[in-house]
């Protein structure tokens, strides 16, 4: 923390500020300039509320300097993390593609889609068994039956499974069927849940909250890491801005930013970010071109009759075309599709 004093501050006021900093356990280094005095408050107090200092007389500004996350940061771990999920590597040189429907709807549906996406080159099957819906009357997912179908379809076509876990009560159940647990954007700051996930045995895909800064997102990852689960992947899925032409604004710039700040793999979700089918492919390509370690894309065999999010799901043929394009793009930057 750095404390900048106001120009006309008195020596007595500075001493009082230093006294309060000492009281809170900080070492203080003082730099006296012509216009302002700068106090460096050294020491790690992860939970300190810097507004306590901002209110002291003579303080012009308080700047927080210690990154609030540690385990998630690249200064803590220089090399990018690589997770081995039954032989499939995420976070290394290969770019992983996850694909599937928004919701598991039937045996026929999930097997048909699993076959299509597997043939086109996806390695992980996505699909929801428990759906958080804005309307209480909407389709709520198939529950455990959906998990079983997804597992069976994935096994049949040599795929891994990723699916959403909505609260603590579902963790044990979903771990029986899935290879990766997906955490939705609305749960990104559900701290008690994050702590539960720190005890989970499966890797986590942590979606960015709609209004979360990159720093807050990494802080949420820190929660899971500090709980003991070292396998956390981040997922950019669009943020809320003033622009309404797309469902959200996909922050592609977050991909290189996260890679600089953190060693955790970063996955991109163009389907939820852009929200309408005809723009999903350009955004998937852009994500790979920007350096994402993977993409997660909604594909449906009959999107016009999908029970949810049909409008942003690709047809299987579109997905195949997308795979051809991203394969070349990955090569352009010295990577390859897993």
């Amino acid at each position: 923390m750095v404390v900048v004093t106001e120009p006309g501050v008195t020596e007595k006021q500075i001493e009082e500020i230093i006294r309060v900093l000492h009281e809170h356990g900080f070492d203080v280094h003082r730099s006296t300039g012509i216009r302002q005095t700068v106090l460096g408050a050294i020491g790690v107090q992860p939970d300190f509320d810097h507004r306590q200092i901002q209110l002291l007389t003579g303080v012009a500004e308080v700047l927080r300097i210690t990154e609030p996350y540690k385990l998630a940061s690249r200064t803590f771990k220089r090399e990018g993390s690589v997770f081995d999920i039954g032989g499939l590597k995420i976070g290394g040189n290969e770019v992983v593609v996850m694909a599937g429907p928004c919701s598991v709807e039937s045996e026929k549906q999930i097997f048909s889609i699993a076959e299509s996406v597997s043939k086109a080159g996806a390695k992980i099957l996505r699909g929801g068994a428990f759906k958080p819906r804005t309307s209480p009357y909407a389709f709520q997912g198939m529950g455990e039956e959906g998990l079983k179908l997804m597992r069976a379809a994935a096994d049949q076509y040599g795929l891994k499974v990723i699916t959403e876990v909505m609260d603590k009560s579902q963790i044990a159940l979903v771990e029986q069927y899935a290879d990766i647990l997906q955490i939705g954007a609305r749960n990104m700051q559900n701290f008690t849940f994050l702590r539960d996930l720190g005890k989970a045995s499966k890797p986590i895909l942590l979606k960015r909250g709609l209004a979360a800064t990159i720093e807050e997102w990494l802080m949420s990852a820190e929660y899971i890491l500090s709980g003991g689960n070292q396998q956390v992947m981040l997922c950019e899925r669009g943020i809320r801005t003033f622009e309404t032409a797309t469902r959200n604004t996909m922050d592609i710039g977050a991909i290189p930013v996260v890679q600089k700040k953190s060693h955790l793999p970063i996955i991109a979700d163009p389907s939820h970010a852009i929200g309408i089918r005809d723009k999903v492919i350009p955004m998937a390509r852009a994500s790979v071109a920007a350096g994402a370690d993977g993409i997660i894309v909604e594909v449906h065999n009959d999107p016009d009759h999908a029970k949810s999010d049909g409008a942003q799901s690709l047809f299987p043929d579109q997905f195949s075309q997308m795979m051809k394009e991203v394969t070349i793009i990955a090569e352009a930057i010295g990577r390859k599709i897993a």
Copy 2:
């Protein structure tokens, strides 16, 4: 829903669009203009995904017209709702003041604050017993012991109690001690929880999410109302914008907007919205002046040593001064402080 076609659309394409609308159960009224044809799709399909129509050939634009909420809207109920909480009316002509610490910390603390705010004119004691914290090492609240202390302090000084409920498991417990259940901004779209609250026996104060539109907020209220709990109050507590000079941007304009759209009482929380003590009072005054049905303000007997949010808590003397000012302001608009 209104569907606007592209200028060069063919008759066959229009017929196909109408066919799909019929398939989804809409009545269709057609208006043919020189440049564009407009199709009015009449019928209530609360869960319909309008992007399904947007993707059809020949469609330029799809506009949703039915308000997604019904029970929360003023067209459903013209008169403003008034809730009677043990003789205290919220939502009528009187403006209610809720005050207290961020967290209950000790018997001495909560009794001291309860006495102060009661003397100054507050009618409801606020305070957290379970605290959602960004850091796992931070003070997590006193739990049930805190609830008991708050109830005792409130009873001693003739106050009601409002406190936060963080998940379903806490509802029954908190209902034993509190008069109003507060739902935090991060839980505003926790739909399973909202449904649980629809079965709760106590009134709800629903805080606006950091990135929630007013429409989404009312939709969340609808969830609770449709579950059977008719006593929902809304609470504006700041939204996230590009401006970082304040903790959040307090959307005072939401107060008259909500009052036009909904019959539910609207409360303002200047403490969380602005985030620093010296600006809480102007924002509290502005909230009452804009027509809020109540305000909820953090007050602490010793803010410099508060276990949480001390920097945005008022000193008891400041709170008394604030009460004097808002009393006159309420009268200026023909209301009075409860």
Copy 3:
């Protein structure tokens, strides 16, 4: 500027960072902590691009500390500025009300409105003679003829005149008729124009840009002040956020923030901020309650047939009612309406 190094930084890298800082003219104070070294770079380099340091090897973070504005800051001038405009004081204890139509449309219109607002207690007549319009086919204002009419109407009813100046070529002309020059939100960062205004002989009302931070806004005021014109007033008129229920989001919190940071008077424009008549009055009241030094409100004798912005203009009777309310609110905080 404060430079925070990365944890594993070498002594050699730190020396190189210090060398570059010296090269740019900064004095450097070094604080060595266990995890990080903090370098305080003292010295005023208002135009220095801190990203130059951010890119150096071993640098984790660069924090700018010197306020980029000086003349506008309250540390430069402790007492709030008060401008005397022909006997009318702005910025002192009195709250000034400016009112009038969006555009001057005719002699009859402007005299009628001037009479109404003067009777109700306004002290300054607002109105546009040159209108920036989004459509090339829209009414563009009456030009100099409009200025003459506004001056005559104001003189008749004992009012001052405020009107917008759109570019340098209009300054000399408008100064002949107006008492205050209003600068629109879109021109807030038109730096060459700001410099021209620094030479103007009349006080300036500088509107906040739609996406401008408070710091950028004060920096724009600094441009005018540094050009020699010391009479700058700021005007909050709403910012752009994700919320679309209102035209803009009025940042009432900016009022106390500006008053803490700057000595310049702050005026609020509820009409443009909220954009629809029935919510203008609550926002006007909130502005005064929050401590604004003045408000500027659109009033029209026949809003349904106004040539621009009729939908956000008050009827004269509504304006009178508003004046009664804000008069009491001003008194509640120890001020009075001018």
Copy 4:
């Protein structure tokens, strides 16, 4: 425009709404549903303020349907526009690369950079001769001398020239030296200037405003097109959001959105969008992958001593590497670098 009435509306109120719509020149089609009546107001009134209807009794909602722009829309012109700039095509199958320094600083500098970027494959030389700066003490550009140097350097290395025009007074001068006139983000809604550009003889690159929606941006293009200049290119350069980890948030999704809505070429500016060198290349690749018709990138021979924006300028070697990558990416989607 579509007008939705409130549920309890009376027949008389509906008739009054229809009367007002007729008064404003609209044809009205009425659709009567069980809960609501929908009025389709057909007719082109580009400048109509729909808030005038929103305020009428019985009106629940007013939805604008006619796109406010016409000449810029793809419904007006199905085929993408292709501009021929001295043999170089922009907007067709080829992707054009524009590169060069932020500012022209000297003959040696601009010739050195022109040589580098030309060798690497750029076709257009960018560089500023007139610089809008936030500080009055900063380098303001070389003016006409800079234009001459840029023209000479471009001619020497077979490049075209793009440079910024800041106001009307510079148009004639810049047209003598440049092939494309660049309009900065802050001028995007300077409507009088846009009208002047409608009379210019050279193509325009119109940057998106920091807080401008895609619709507003296309509306600004419409201004220029309607003035007679048919050669307008759009340039995405980042928008302002709550995220501060990057200078702006680059809205890559705007690329496919603009291409769906408009026939005008869309160029991407990763340098200004992301604001720091080490993330420019990923964003340049993402832009091409998303389908941009061109990119404009800052390159400097000695960025550490550049007079402006050095921190976001690529070294010539980095630019060469970027060119190799985007060449493959363009091929992946069936295009090629010009």
